[in-house]
């Protein structure tokens, strides 16, 4: 955490899990303002800010809120996704432990906007200490009239509950999360209906990521325009980038979404140790296809990265230097998705395990050249054919690494070693 600039970072650095610290920085003024607006005005403001879902999918937040049926006879719920499990992603935990009250304020505003009086925070099971901090902050908010029957003294009631998960990555997928919250096995649901129409307990529900909600108070406080202007035409603001791998200063950086990957890696994260060259960069969590070093001048933003066939996802940037074995990387990545597949639908259940076995075999020096094509075929059989996007998340890295770094895998299949540049001759000679 090197930066003091930004929106959430200054809060994270000043212990805003404590109410007084947050209040000293103008905390809960935005919620008061929102409660004096109509819910529709709040939604419009968020829509105009171009805030997009920072859990990974990048769906425009205001637009999602607007899907909730007006005057629903059923209760409406807000569910906060704090399952944070995508490898390479570790931002939400800072918000939960250090900017806790910003999240709570965001929850109040979002709940008010969608007409919810109950919000659940679903936090991954491994976040034990983080859940405790969160509970304490929520208690403090209740004790100070910020939550409960009369939120901030206004005629609006809101209860917030923390629910700890049991450690399944799939429970970060919003419909699996809802199943889990209902006490069932975390199996994603078929869509439609979407959660905004039929979510938790079959009632209208909005699921948002921790970080997404934590920006909401500042959009209300400073105006949609202020937030939108920091970003591009279709994505507003800043976001928290999690930089890991071969960089000198790994950590969380809050930067405008217009910042390029190269800037993030070299200007903020201190470049690559030993001045080594970069071999590959994963831009948005382990499921996003990697980029080659010559492609890094792209803004780390949803639409720009999508054009390159990859994703901004959860903001998890993983840097790999020239000595990295990409077969090893793809094997651990695939192993993760294999391990985490819920097993509900056939292509993901069987395909992830099959790819994992092939990759492990290759890693143990028993690869065959036909394995490379075959991996691609399996991944194509999963891609787009499953119930939830975990199947895609497992297929995309395989397709992505093979598309941009095929020689690495062919080299392992043919010569049982990483590609070292001499490949072309060897292959020609073989």
């Amino acid at each position: 955490m090197a930066e003091t600039q930004g929106i959430l970072m200054p809060l994270i650095q000043s212990e805003c899990q404590i109410l007084k610290n947050y209040r000293d920085r103008g905390g809960y003024e935005a919620a008061k303002k929102a409660l004096s607006m109509t819910p529709d005005e709040v939604i419009q403001e968020v829509q105009a800010s171009n805030l997009r879902g920072l859990g990974g999918a990048g769906f425009p937040t205001g637009r999602k809120w607007a899907f909730v049926p007006k005057n629903s006879p059923k209760p409406v719920y807000l569910v906060v996704n704090c399952d944070e499990s995508e490898p390479g992603t570790f931002k939400d935990k800072y918000i939960i432990t250090k900017a806790t009250h910003a999240l709570i304020e965001g929850i109040i505003i979002a709940s008010y906007a969608i007409g919810a009086h109950t919000a659940y925070i679903y936090i991954r099971g491994e976040y034990v200490r983080q859940a405790e901090v969160l509970e304490q902050a929520i208690q403090e908010a209740y004790d100070n009239g910020i939550l409960g029957k009369k939120v901030l003294g206004k005629d609006y009631a809101l209860d917030v509950y923390v629910h700890r998960g049991a450690g399944a990555y799939i429970c970060g997928e919003e419909t699996a999360l809802l199943e889990s919250l209902e006490g069932k096995k975390g199996w994603p649901r078929m869509k439609p209906p979407f959660p905004a129409i039929e979510g938790l307990f079959r009632c209208p529900t909005i699921v948002n990521n921790v970080e997404t909600l934590s920006y909401v108070p500042f959009i209300i406080k400073n105006g949609a325009r202020w937030f939108a202007e920091m970003g591009t035409e279709r994505s507003g603001g800043m976001r928290l980038y999690c930089v890991s791998g071969h960089v000198n200063k790994p950590g969380v950086y809050e930067l405008p979404v217009t910042t390029t990957l190269r800037e993030i890696i070299y200007e903020h994260a201190g470049g690559v140790p030993g001045n080594k060259k970069i071999k590959a960069v994963v831009p948005g969590g382990s499921s996003s296809p990697p980029l080659r070093p010559e492609e890094l001048d792209v803004p780390a933003e949803f639409d720009a990265l999508m054009k390159l066939g990859t994703m901004a996802g959860s903001g998890g940037i993983i840097v790999m230097d020239e000595d990295t074995c990409l077969l090893e990387i793809l094997t651990v990545t695939t192993h993760f998705y294999h391990h985490e597949s819920c097993g509900q639908c056939t292509p993901c259940r069987e395909g992830t395990g099959w790819m994992d076995k092939i990759l492990h075999r290759m890693l143990h020096g028993e690869g065959r050249i036909e394995d490379v094509d075959h991996l691609e075929e399996i991944a194509n059989g999963i891609m787009g054919n499953t119930i939830c996007p975990l199947g895609d998340a497992a297929a995309m890295p395989v397709l992505g690494y093979l598309k941009r770094f095929r020689e690495e895998f062919e080299s392992h299949a043919l010569y049982k070693k990483c590609f070292d540049g001499e490949f072309a001759e060897l292959k020609a000679a073989s």
Binding site: A168, I170, K185, M190, H338, H339, E340, S341, C342, G343, Q344, C345, T346, P347, R349, E350, G351, T352, G353, W354, K357, I358, R361, H374, E377, G381, G384, N385, T386, I387
Partner: protein, 552 residues
């Protein structure tokens, strides 16, 4: 109503239908594993992926609802390839142990593989190991390596039997179908999971390893186990009964009837056929002499019985009959005629209420364990237990010279000394039935009736639905349907019942009994018909209500 195009065929279908249903109506079968029309739709197996124009991804036909103007390609290259790959995925960890699998021949992995499999296996890795040959309940065996995790069985136990014994445990390709800890698959409907399991993961413990399914013949029938009259198929192994412990009937399977039992039957009904090939079957007419039963020819037996009855009548002695709601409408109609026209008996009781109240529920299983009580009532038999009680009292008072008992074991409905004291006073007891039992042993004459599986006929279920069943196997040895026995006995008395087939009896009955007016074997079809309004109009309303409950 939306108009859609499926593989070039344009059709108009009902709003709310799914693509798989619409295609089926158009005669296009889309493969399915998890989809079952009787269960909640979950879209898990992905074998029904189809291409729909203007949609970027392939869609599962089971879950996608039709929309006006939708253009569906079931057999585009993309859709075909995706389904082929799903099948390939399903076989990745499958043990492919077809040679020792009971499901072979009716397995949908085999079926689809023959249709569109890869025929070029690429899988060379080690397969995952799971539990094999686990008895999960009294009737069902699980091989979880063969399970394709379609969750049909899980949903059956959640939604239909509402007993929730099964679940999918663990994650990913380690997922395994198992009973919940401490639970066994023991509910009155448990074996239905075997029928709906598309593969060899769940097999019947009774049927396992007895006979290969391609040796089986199938006959449409109706379960005789209770007044619901669930529609069934009788699967017989006629050529190789020795493979099946001498049994000609290998198994019963439910047959779809939305008006009665949907896709299901209960376990009591399913395993209630064992009496058909049981050692206790009566195979020849028997005459008791000094405590010994001796076999006689039919003609001799009927001649002797005629002699006894005729003499009794001539001497002004009382001859009485106890019919049975186990008998078909045809049998009962012949009995009614025999009673009325030959013996001039008009009050014939049929019901013996069991001493112990039988199990029943609010789904399929009814307390009345007879398939045709309603039919008996419509034909004018007395279905009140009290009538049978009175008949026994008359016997006890010495007022009955001869008594013809059909099927009943009176000891099941009356105290032993009450039965003995009554039958002791009867000069001649004639028993007509299929299996030897304590009441039969008290008879002087025993006539072998065949079972429902061995004859054509109809039952009228509790709701007044008249349903046809066909003979699946020949009558055992010299047994005969009751209507034939009665025809031959009537002939002894000089009465000609001009019936050659069960259908002849039915035709006559439909002509004479208003409740059955307009019915014929052909008209009954596979789903039966509800009795005519002028039969018992007051019960008609109740009938309809009950039907909707059953078909839910």
């Amino acid at each position: 109503m939306p108009t859609i195009t499926i593989d070039g065929k344009e059709l108009t279908v009902d709003e709310g239908k799914t693509v798989i249903q619409a295609a089926e109506e158009a005669g296009i079968y889309i493969p399915r594993y998890c989809y079952h029309p009787g269960l909640r739709i979950v879209g898990q197996c992905r074998i029904c992926l189809v291409e729909i124009e203007k949609m970027p991804k392939l869609q599962v036909a089971c879950y996608t609802r039709v929309q006006d103007g939708m253009v569906v390609h079931v057999n585009s290259e993309k859709a075909k390839r995706a389904r082929q790959q799903v099948l390939e995925f399903l076989l990745v960890n499958h043990p492919i142990d077809c040679p020792v699998c009971d499901q072979a021949g009716e397995c949908y992995l085999q079926e689809y593989y023959m249709q569109f499999g890869l025929y070029d296996p690429k899988m060379i890795e080690d397969k995952n190991k799971k539990h094999k040959a686990v008895p999960v309940g009294p009737h069902v065996m699980l091989d979880s390596e063969r399970c394709i995790l379609c969750t049909r069985c899980v949903r059956f136990c959640d939604e239909i039997s509402k007993t929730s014994e099964l679940g999918v445990f663990n994650r990913g390709d380690r997922s395994e179908l198992l009973p919940y800890p401490g639970k066994t698959l023991d509910n009155p409907y448990s074996a239905n999971v075997v029928d709906i399991c598309p593969v060899g993961a769940l097999t019947e413990r009774d049927f396992r390893f007895k006979v290969r399914v391609w040796y089986l013949d199938e006959t449409k029938s109706v379960c005789p186990g209770c007044a619901t009259g669930c529609n069934i198929e009788i699967h017989t192994s006629k050529a190789r009964p020795y493979k099946n412990e001498g049994r000609r009937i290998a198994r019963l399977k439910p047959r779809y009837n939305p008006e009665v039992n949907d896709y299901w039957i209960c376990d009591y009904g399913r395993y209630g056929f064992l009496f058909v090939d049981d050692d206790s079957r009566i195979q020849q007419p028997l005459v008791q002499k000094d405590g010994q039963f001796n076999e006689v020819e039919w003609d001799n037996a009927l001649y002797m019985i005629h002699g006894v009855l005729n003499q009794a009548l001539e001497n002004g002695k009382s001859v009485r009959i106890l019919g049975s709601p186990q008998m078909s409408n045809e049998d009962l109609y012949a009995l009614k005629r025999f009673g009325n026209e030959v013996l001039e008996i008009h009050d014939i009781p049929v019901t013996v209420k069991p001493l112990e109240k039988p199990y029943s529920d609010d789904f399929l299983i009814r307390e009345d364990k007879n398939p045709n009580t309603r039919g008996a009532a419509l034909l004018g038999f007395d279905t009140d237990h009290a009538a049978t009680e009175k008949l026994l009292a008359d016997c006890r008072n010495g007022g009955v010279h001869s008594l013809i008992i059909f099927h009943h074991d009176l000891f099941k409905g009356f105290a032993a000394e009450d039965v003995r004291s009554a039958l002791d006073k009867v000069e001649t007891v004639i028993f007509v039935g299929s299996n030897m039992q304590p009441t039969a042993e008290l008879a002087t004459y025993i006539l072998p009736a065949c079972t429902w599986a061995e004859k054509d006929g109809t039952f009228t279920n509790h709701a007044g639905r008249v349903q046809k069943f066909d003979a699946a196997v020949d009558p055992l040895e010299n047994s005969l349907p009751e209507w034939k026995i009665l025809r031959r006995l009537a002939k002894q008395f000089g009465h000609a019942f001009a019936y050659f087939e069960a259908e002849d009896v039915f035709r006559d009955m439909a002509k004479k009994v208003p409740a059955f007016a307009g019915m014929s074997y052909r008209a009954l079809g596979d789903r039966g018909m509800v009795i005519n309004e002028n039969g018992r109009p007051s019960q008609q309303a109740e009938v309809k209500e009950e039907l909707t409950v059953v078909s839910k």
